[in-house]
Structures are given as C-alpha cells and as structure tokens.
Amino acid sequence: MTPQPIYLEEKLKEVQESGRLAYRSKSMPTWCPGCGYFSIVDGLPGALNDLGIAPKDAVVVSGIGCSSRFPFFVNTYGFHTLHGRVLPVATGIKTANDALTVIAVGGDGDGFAIGGGHVPHAARRNVDLTYLLFDNGIYGLTKGQTSPTSSVGFKTPTSPYENPDQPLNPLLMVLTYGATWVGQAYAGRPQQLETMIKQAIAHRGFSYLHILSPCVTFDKTDRTYVRLGDLVRDLPANHDKGDLGAALHLAMDTATPALGVFYETQRPTLADALDGLVEKAGGSVGQKRRTA
C-alpha cells in the first residue's frame, strides 16, 4: 500500500531524452493518482525547454492548495506563498528583476475567492508574467469544499444540501480586467495544454491560462474527465483573437467551454510604464539590478 509510482519508466526516459528532465524536481508530486494537475507539471518543462528558458531564470510562484504545491515539483526557483497571494508576490518579483521569467500558479479558490482582489490589478497593470489557474471547481487541499467556480447544486461538506451560489466566470472576468493574453486549456488534453502554456509564457505582458482540471478524489459527479471530455470544444476556427467583444462572447458560454486563445493584444507592461516614469524623472532606465 505504498504510493503508486506515477511516472512509468518509459515516460521518464522520454522526458529525459527531450531535455526536459532538467526542469523536473527530484520530489515526486504528492497529488492523488489521476489528478489533472499531472498534465500541467508535465507541460511546463516542455514549454520552458522549448522557449530556451533556463531553470535558473524561471521563478514559479504559487499560493496555497493542491495546485500550489506545484513549485516543489519543478526544478526552477520557487516561492510557495500564502493562500491567495500568488499574484502580488509574483508582481514584486518581476518588478524587482526583469530578467526572470515569472510563472504564477494556483487554484480556483486561491485565485478567485481569497485572492480575487489581486487579479484585476495584475491584469490592468499588464505585469509581464503568466498566470496558470488550475480550476477544479473545488477546494482540494482542505478536502473538498465548495469553491467559487463550483456548479450550483454541487454537494460538498460545506454545502451538504447543495451549493446555492452562482459560480464566477474567471475567463470572462479576466478579459474585463485588461489581461493582454487569455486562453483556456483542459488537463485531459495535455498536448494542447503544453502548447498553450508555451504561448502564454512567450506573450509579453499579463497572460492568463485557465486550465480545467478534474479533482478525482473529491468530485465524482460534476467535472469528471468523462463529463468534461464531452463538454469541451475547440475555439471556432474563425474566432478573431484580437476582438475583445468576441472573446467576451465566447467566455460567456460556460456550458461548452472552448479551448484555445480567446484574446491577445499588446500594450506596455508595468515595467515599461515604470521605466517611463524614470525617463520623465530624468533617471537612467534599465540600470543593472543588484541581483544576478
């Protein structure tokens, strides 16, 4: 009854050969077997490797939750912060050192319950970081309570009769906050997920990737692989990702979640804006930071 090995020998070999092993930590994920999060921890190394970002130059920042254990399972710099605080900590890191690739990760509760106040500001400031939101519609780590994205009627220990609250729609919200890259992926489609992580990191500015991911332990009825697999669809081929209105429209459909890049645009990042102030003040921009 010891933990089941998550990584098959073959898998390990494949990873090793692809050069991605450098990005994997020696600690094996402590997630439940079958948890959707495994796809994400598999996808990030690929994305970083393909983009040529060395482990030493990446910082993975997280909040608290099953999802937020993520930094322990990759071999980069990592900051496992507090419940809900992933974005401001990540903003501080990026503001202090432009040279780092900052990836923020966390759960639906972390991001849209306790951390919900920070998302608008990271987005509107266009902080140049990537936010991977693991949405399982549940509080996994605390053993399965209702989350702000839980479906109405879903039963959990804190809503034993049913969840009475209409869920939030993070994708739609983030679009209105001014995020400059917004996409959705599904843990059940790891290939596409990896590609989208790569695109999100490559984007200059605040990129938000919403990842639908089943919690196999505490949700046996609602967002299972089987049900989600049936619901998700690809973005309409003619979707114009430069059109915010169209993106909003797409995001309003939560019944059949679309996978792909909803929206993408370019505007100055927070660092650009702050450098602008330095110029206005007559200071010299881009001075070498104290840090490596």
């Binding site: 920042v61 496992h80 903003t91 890191i93 202090a96 050192n97």
Partner: protein, 591 residues
C-alpha cells in the same frame, strides 16, 4: 547667550498657518539654529479647522517642545484665544489689531492677554492689503514682523521664500512685499518682552527634516531598490516623497491595490535580493500580519515602516499615539519572531530606516520600524553624516562550490543565518515556503525538524542585538543608583529627557533609558538599568501600557506606568508629577 525660544502660530489652514511655520523653521535652521517643530492639523477633509504651527529654536540640543511658548502669533481670534494661556510671563502675543468683522465682547484676543504677557497688536490685514492689494499674504506679514521685531537677518527668510514660491510668479513677489512690510513694522516696534535671539553659535550645517522625510532619505541612502505602498495617514508622505525621488535614481515604486499586496510585493522583491520596503499605519499593519509571518518563515528580507496613529480601528487618524507596539511585536500567528525598531527622534528615523535594510538582509527577516504621527510629522534640524552610514550589501553569499545539488537554502550554520542564492544564480534553485521545511527548503513536518528550525529562526535574531554601528538602547543622566529611572521608547523619549533635566534641577536622582530595539528585546541591559532604580517609570502614549507590559514580560519585574491617550504628545509637566511622586516614595523607603 543661549537661545531657547518657542514660537506658536495659530490660525486656520486657509490662512497659511502651516506655510508660515514652515518658512519660519526653515529660515531659522538656515540661520544656523537648532529647531524642533510640530504642527497640529484639523482632522476634517475640508481644511477650515484650527492649525497650530509650533517651533522651538535653540542653540543647544533640545529634545521636545516646551510646555510654554515664548511667542504666540494669532492669525485668527477664534482659534487664537484658547492658546493665549500657553504664552509664558513676559512672552509676546502678536495679534490682529483691526479685525475685519465686528467681534463680540470677549471674542478678541486682546481681551485674553494676561497682564504679565506683552501684547503686540498688529494691523496684519491692512499691511497685507497695502503691500500686495490682497489680504492673502497676512502670514507673510507676521513672519516679517517677527523677523523685524527680534532683529533676525532677512536673508534666510528671503532665500526660503524664493525656493518655496519659485515659478509661482506674482505670488512670490507679493510674499516678498508682505514680508518686507511686516519687517519694517517689526523693526520699528519697541520690544518690551524678554524674548531675545542670541547668535546661533558656530552655526549648524544641518538640514530640516520631519520623521517621514528622514525615513525616505534613509531609504534612498541605503540604496532602496523597490517600494510598494498603499496610502494611509500618517505614513503616506513617505511614499509620496519616494515617488518623487526613486524614479530619478532609476528605481521603481508602485502603489498597490491594498496593504496585503504592498507587503506581498515587498517580500516578492526582497526574495530576488532587492532592497524593498513598504510603509503603513496600524490598520495596514493588521492586514499585513499574515504575510509578515511568511516573510519570517521563508526568511525573506523586507522592511515595513509603521507610523502609528490613534487607535483602535480607524481610531483618530490625524492624532498621535503609541499603541501599535503589541501588534508590531506579537501580531502574527505562530512563533513568529521579528525585528522591531523604534527611533526616538528625526535623526533616528534616518538611521533606523537605513539600518533596517541592513538588518533585514543580514538576518533574512522582516524588520518593522515603528514611528508615530508625532515623529513622522515633527521637524528637526539634523546634521547629516558626510557619507551614508549604511552597508550597501549585507547578504550572506553562498560559498564557492556550494551551488548545485548540495546547496541548502536553509542550512544550519554557526550564526543560524543560511547563505542565500538569488533567482538567476545557476545551481541555486530552491523553493521557499511558509510550510515547515528542512535545510533544502523541502516540506518537512518532523518534530525534530520543526524544533530545530524554530530555534534557528529565533536564535539568528540574537545577533541583531549586537548589530554594528547601531544604538540599540542608551542610558542618559545620572550614573549608578537613582531615585527614579524612566524607561522610554519612540517619540516620547524627548519629553522624558526634558523631565530628567527638570528632575535634576529639583535634586531628584534620575536617569532615562531609551530602548530603540524593541524586538529582540535587550533584556539584560534593561534589567541592569532597573537594578539601579528605586522606582521605574514607563510613560507611554497608549492606554494599556504596552511597553510596560513588554518590560514586565521580558524581565519578570514590576514597573510603574504612566499612560495618556490624548492624541497629543506627552506633557513634560505630567510626567514630572509622576517622577516627583515616585521620588518621594523612594526617599521615604530609603529613610
């Protein structure tokens, strides 16, 4: 001749009361005097309440404002009347001789001047109108009048007026004219009181700063890289000043969405090796409690300036108080040791600010610097060191060859501080976390590890009690055995020193110990001081006696408390009454 003169200017905000005080203190500092100055503002948004600008001008070092003023200027009868009483015998009361409105019996300042005081009626309004065509420059008229009456050189005033109104066109010109008009009148007035300015002595090469400005300067001189903050009285002006200065130096400042974000970004930046800070007041510190705990657990440097105001809750935002000591020291869950410094004067603000960055980096932990409104807003002449007395980098580097597989971010070391690899350094990859962890930073909940890491987090701070080039505590006054010893902290120390001088005059053996480092606490030194005292008095601007409580907790010995929550600085006379009372008991015991 020693100079020791206190001037109060009283009026409403609309009358330029605070501006007049500002010019006066800067001019006198420019002339080479020492100045200490604190203004009282109205609390309301719209600025029509009473303002009082007060400054004490000396040639010797002074530590607080005096109980009695030597000169009072009333720009407005209504606001002036309650303050006539604060003028000492043979002091001067300057007031509007020709009020615009017809004032009822008793509503005129003149009716409230005691026989022993010297009245100087002045046609303030008229002089302003005659000089500039408007009544707006009345504050300049009285400034000129003071300068003329007391035979002060014009030049420092003119210089300050020039700087202050540079580029403001006619305003500058009008102000000069009004000043001149007042000056002439003053110079021509026969001075009856015994208020006399002596020469400033050898003259000080000093700058005039308030506590918040000194903090900002300390940050800049210590090489602050990033500042993140959210506005809150009385801390806001720290951020406002840095917002002007940091971009000039290529540094980044960001106004965050709230205080939780402010401390989170500060710690994020600190994690990368940047010197970063935030500033707030009690309510903001309460919100930061959880994140500060992460800073302690993850051993990330950060600096938090906290300027206290009246509490609890929103309290009295525009009045001073020292009631955030408890939260600063104990305001986190778990065993969460932190460094807490409380400067006692404006120069101390500068030093503590810079040293806070050193300590945060050296001991890898958050450092809280506790000010209060009285200190944040009080102006003092400060002689700046030739070179900033701060180390530019106190980080403990990873020994060569250690980076790589074996690198232990939280390794146990002799001084309990572990070498820190910063993001971007090859081979130093690790995860910091708020969970208990082992030397590598991996989650570990074993009893032995938790005990060992708890010890590490506490013991590493012991060295802070010996941090170089820093005054952790200091004893003043009589050596050896004393009747009464005063233990003081923060902005109240000045008043305690003035009390000590008074006590000496009255033949009471008295000493003061100020404690600047409140956590970790210099228990031994404080206990040794207490050994010397027949009675120990702890005066504080809070209701509960938070410092007294801390002393008892740390030493296990009782003290006498004296607490006020008036929103205003301690009155020297009030503390003195306690000293007399205790001295009597002490003598009785000795007898």
């Amino acid at each position: 001749m020693k100079t020791d003169i206190q001037i109060a200017i009283c009026g409403s905000a609309g009358e330029g009361t605070i501006a007049a005080g500002d010019i006066l203190r800067n001019a006198l500092a420019g002339a080479g005097y020492r100045v200490i100055s604190f203004d009282a503002y109205p609390a309301e948004i719209r600025g029509f309440g009473k303002c009082v600008a007060r400054l004490r001008v000396t040639t010797e070092q002074a530590y607080s404002l005096k109980e009695k003023s030597d000169v009072l200027v009333c720009l407005n009868d209504e606001h002036g009347i309650p303050h006539v009483g604060e003028v000492r015998d043979f002091g001067a009361v300057i007031y509007e001789a020709k009020s615009i409105v017809h004032l009822a019996e008793g509503s005129h300042v003149s009716g409230h001047i005691r026989p022993a005081q010297v009245p100087y009626p002045l046609a303030i309004r008229e002089l302003s109108e005659r000089a500039t065509g408007a009544i707006r420059s009345r504050n300049m008229v009285v400034l000129g009048y003071i300068a003329g009456l007391f035979h002060l050189a014009k030049e420092p005033f003119e210089k300050i007026i020039n700087t202050k109104f540079k580029g403001k066109g006619k305003a500058a010109e009008d102000n000069h004219k009004a000043f001149d008009a007042g000056y002439e009148t003053g110079a021509a007035t026969f001075k009856l009181d015994d208020v006399n300015f002596g020469p400033p002595g050898k003259g000080l090469q000093a700058v005039m700063l308030n506590g918040n400005a000194a903090v900002a300067k300390g940050c800049l001189d210590a090489g602050i890289d990033n500042f993140f903050g959210y506005p809150i009285t009385p801390a806001t002006t720290i951020m406002e000043r840095l917002a002007v200065e940091m971009p000039k130096r290529g540094k980044r400042l960001l106004q965050t969405e709230d205080e939780i974000a402010a401390i989170s970004t500060t710690i994020g930046a600190g994690y990368t090796g940047a010197r970063s800070a935030t500033a707030t007041s009690g309510p903001g510190l309460a919100l930061m409690s959880e994140m500060l705990g992460l800073g302690i657990m993850a051993e990330v440097p950060s600096v938090v300036f906290v300027s206290q105001r009246g509490g609890p809750s929103t309290g009295i935002p525009t009045k001073t108080e020292q009631s955030d000591l408890n939260i600063a020291i104990y305001g986190g869950h778990g065993d969460a040791p932190r460094i807490v410094l409380a400067p006692t004067n404006v120069e101390g603000c500068y030093r503590c600010a810079g040293k806070a960055f050193e300590m945060a980096e050296r001991y890898q932990t958050p450092v809280i610097v506790l000010l209060d409104l009285y200190l944040s807003n009080r102006y003092e002449t400060v002689v700046m060191p030739a070179k900033p007395p701060f180390e530019p980098n106190c980080d403990k580097p990873v020994p060569k060859g250690d980076l790589g597989a074996g690198y232990k971010r939280f390794g146990f070391t002799e001084d309990d501080v572990s070498p820190r690899a910063l993001p971007g350094m090859a081979g130093g990859m690790h995860v910091v976390t708020g969970l208990e962890h082992n030397e590598l930073g991996r989650v570990n909940e074993q009893p032995e590890m938790h005990e060992a890491m708890s010890r590490k987090r506490h013991d590493k701070l012991k060295a802070a009690l010996q941090h170089p080039d820093f005054t952790h505590y200091k004893r003043f006054g009589d050596e050896g055995r004393v009747d009464v010893g005063i233990l003081a902290w923060g902005s109240t120390v000045g008043e305690c020193l003035e009390v000590m001088f008074l006590a000496h005059l009255e033949g009471i053996a008295c000493a003061v110990m100020k404690v600047v480092m409140l956590s970790p606490f210099p228990t031994e030194a404080v206990a040794a001081f207490m050994d010397d005292c027949d009675a120990v008095l702890v005066p504080e601007l809070n209701y509960q006696g938070q410092f007294a409580h801390l002393i008892q907790a740390e030493t296990g010995r009782p003290v006498h408390r004296y607490n006020r929550v008036t929103g205003t600085p301690m009155r020297v006379e009030d503390i003195m009454a306690q000293v007399r009372r205790l001295a009597k008991t002490a003598t009785r015991k000795a007898a």
